[in-house]
Symmetry: C3
Subunit: 210 residues, 3 copies
């Protein structure tokens, strides 16, 4: 795992991680609101969105314990937020505008994809498979959210680069890893790459070919 990281950086990473998980849970709240789900439905959809990608990855890699078992607090926080989801969404829409949610989601995409790739490499997966595991970690929560809500997954029909940003960023991470950069800085640089790629392609309205 490389040399010990500066404690302040570890703290910053934990904050960013928490933000990313909440951003994913929020996209679950928004979807649940759209379909007028009740509090329990909202909770289950938000949970699946936030932890679905990592859980599928861990099932594929036979890793245990799951992230949400080790960090029960996140499940509890999402549970409490779900009880007050309509209120939470109203508050959130005052504090955060759509752009803030887009950025939080892009941070999540970056962190989840790169951590997924890193974990797959640690379990001895070959490069291409590790990249695929990274993309799965980043995007599967959203796919499960949409499938459960009986919609064609946004990721598949929206022609904006989303999985593609994750895919390219994961290869960038492999390159940095190959260059033996300090792991923490590789993770940060590659996650930032995905974040920026997502925001820039979104802003420039780049479209993938059909």
């Amino acid at each position: 795992m490389g040399p010990p990281v500066h404690p302040r950086l570890t703290f910053a990473l934990a904050i960013i991680e928490g933000l990313a998980i909440l951003a994913y849970a929020f996209s679950g709240f928004i979807e649940a609101r759209k379909h007028r789900l009740d509090a329990v439905g909202t909770f289950l959809v938000a949970l699946a969105t936030a932890f679905g990608g990592g859980t599928v990855r861990d099932v594929l890699l036979q890793r245990r314990p799951f992230y949400w078992v080790e960090h029960e607090t996140y499940v509890l926080v999402i549970f409490v937020l779900s009880l007050f989801a309509p209120f939470v969404l109203r508050m959130a829409s005052r504090v955060f505008n759509e752009r803030a949610l887009l950025i939080a989601d892009a941070i999540g995409l970056g962190l989840f994809s790169i951590s997924g790739t890193s974990i797959a490499l640690d379990t001895g997966m070959p490069a291409f498979i590790a990249v695929m595991m990274g993309v799965v970690t980043g995007v599967f929560g959203g796919i499960i959210r949409d499938v459960v809500c009986n919609e064609m997954p946004l990721l598949l029909r929206d022609s904006r680069p989303y999985a593609t940003c994750a895919f390219v960023g994961c290869w960038f991470y492999l390159l940095l890893d190959h260059l033996q950069l300090d792991p923490v800085y590789s993770v940060i640089a590659a996650s930032a790459f995905i974040l920026i790629a997502r925001l820039v392609t979104f802003k420039l309205n780049v479209r993938l070919p059909h």
Copy 2:
């Protein structure tokens, strides 16, 4: 696992368990009928409804063998019933009315949820996660049934307490377990709690907030 149970009680539990599995399979038959599925489709949907929740739980907890591998007979019975599903449903609608099906399903919800929580505790899960595993065991079969049949899961859109009853009942089970009650009586009491909570809230037309 506590002191040995009276054999007559074991026998009674096996009967109730069989009823619960068949009740879940039946809700699969009814859904399959609605979509005019053929015999094979009916079998697959009924199987997923009856064993989906427990299978997802066992995949998450890395438990093997699956219940349906150890109790092959249930798979065979559902297979044979599927071949004659239209006939079976016609017969059943004469013998059992809708209320009987509601009760059988509520028995299944109780037994599956509590057994799921109990199994999760045995594998060392913390309390809140064990409760979530119990709810997953109780409700995931129905979610898979509806997703495969291309419908928004009933559980998510129906605002009647269903997962909520299971959730509260699983906490009640944790309380009884904490009080060191005989395991078998804890299971029965908590399952009965869920059964009664489901029937009473249904009868009183209680609705969850949106």
Copy 3:
């Protein structure tokens, strides 16, 4: 695993296997085209169709590594084909007509189902469960493809025998296995049985009862 197979036969099997995987991936391309998915969506759907059945089987049986981890090349080939999917489909529709795709898909159904049953037997599953695992291996990719694309799975609504052919063929394989035939010839004979059953029932327009 029986006596060593003649090398030329092993080579022929590898070719047939490759054809079957590509046939399944192609049905993913066609579905993706229908929903106008972008290149990434096309790739993910094709991947899920080609490897979904075997992956679900391996998760249920706790087998690792997955086929697509050991045979990364197939993932790469499907990735490259996805980038040019519209072009590939146009080319393919000139070279292969619909009948060719039907045959390729039926080859896949035969090989995947029989290999699934064989693997399940090797891990000590009882006969009926091994047959179910074979059917899951053969048909689950198509179910995932349709669920992700927000359609009722073709397998469930189409009343033509598809899973049924796989089911009967897997029992035929168990019979040959019981007769202690050379494993390779059992696999070939039972796969051919499924292939022929599928094509003949399709041609004769046989329908399953509703």
